[in-house]
Amino acid sequence: MERYIDGNAEAFDGLYRKLSPTLMGYLLRLTRNRARAEDLLQITFTKVHRARGSYLKGAPVLPWAVAIARRSFLDERRAAAVRNEDLSSDGSLPEPRPEAPSLPTEMSDALEIALQRLPESYREAIELTKITGLSIQEAASVLGTTETAVKLRVHRGYNQLRKELESFQR
């Protein structure tokens, strides 16, 4: 990041290789749509590029970039809510709504469905810590809450997931 701020284009390639798979995975989990996730990834990196001057030397890059990605997603979701409908590519008809998930046959499917059923605050806490790999402290700063609150959300989310998955295993 430091060398990128100093204007080194090769350093950007290294940064991109390191950050983009994690950010893409995170955005794909938020949007559940590859095209939207790639659009948001472009927006996120454009913002990282514009804000590189305000990056604090020595600060961890991943939580900073995840926070930018999350905010881009929230802005996009807010704008989509105002638009009310997702139009098809020719701008005329609404896109068909995704079908409700069918009954899971694999544990991974069941986990995916159970995660989607969690309240947003629990899901976000689990996704940031368990899947994206942020520490509790980093997740707390991204979510704007305390470390205790993140631990509590993860714990409650786990309890809820456990109940859902026990009923699947039966």
Partner: protein, 233 residues
């Protein structure tokens, strides 16, 4: 016999997904085109700039107060008050805005600090007033007009500080830009509100509440809205 925890070996979804080559090329093109060294100013310099704007506004109010020859006892009290509130502004700037992004207090605590400080300031200007009018007298055109003019002047100077400080802190907070913007608005509101207590000739409680105190809430709200646009990268 202990039951196996179903979460222990769950097939958690993968954390990483490789973006398409087209997407990667587009991003590389945007982010490396005309790339040059870019170092922004440090949080300390931004904090000092923000406080400098507050001092400038307080200076304008103090100059006006001295030129209209107000009673020296009242002016001295107001100046001590403004000095005390400037300390609060400095504490707010260094404790919230000046800290590395993401390292500050939680969202709820920051919101509590903003609302609590604004309420405390409003209580201060009301309680330090030496006159009390009834609402009927306050709404008479002469007094109401004075309150409106005072409120507008306070908002004008507050907006100047808010705009200048938001530009100084531009694109620095991806975590909670709205709250940081509200803090900037609060600091500007405290500067203009405490400055008004020096410059304004009225010592009436309702006037102080509406024209000097509630301005802080209005500016915090404006800062919240502008901060979401200007402070986010």
């Amino acid at each position: 016999m202990t039951q196996k925890d179903p979460l222990a070996d769950l097939p958690w979804p993968g954390a990483t997904v490789t973006p398409s080559e087209t997407c990667s090329q587009a991003i590389r093109g945007t982010c490396t085109k005309g790339l040059c060294k870019e170092r922004g100013v440090s949080p300390l310099v931004r904090s000092l700039l923000t406080l400098g704007l507050c001092v400038m506004v307080l200076g304008v109010y103090a100059f006006h107060a001295f030129t209209v020859n107000r009673s020296s006892a009242i002016l001295r009290t107001a100046m001590f008050g403004a000095l005390g509130w400037f300390g609060a502004q400095a504490a707010l700037v260094f404790a919230t805005l000046g800290r590395p992004p993401g390292k500050g207090a939680s969202r709820n605590l920051r919101l509590g600090i903003i609302l609590g400080t604004a309420a405390l300031f409003t209580a201060y200007v009301v309680l330090s007033s030496t006159e009390r009018f009834g609402l009927a007298k306050f709404t008479e055109p002469r007094f109401a007009g004075h309150a409106i003019v005072c409120g507008l002047v306070a908002i004008f100077f507050g907006l100047l500080v808010t705009a200048g400080a938001l530009i100084a802190w531009r694109r620095t907070d991806p975590y909670h830009p709205g709250l940081s913007g509200a803090t900037v608005g609060l600091v500007a509101g405290l500067a203009t509100g405490s400055g008004m207590t020096m410059a304004c000739g009225s010592h009436e409680a309702l006037h102080a509440c509406f024209a000097h105190g509630l301005v802080v809430f209005a500016l915090a709200l404006v800062g919240f809205g502008l901060g979401r646009r200007l402070l986010a990268p």
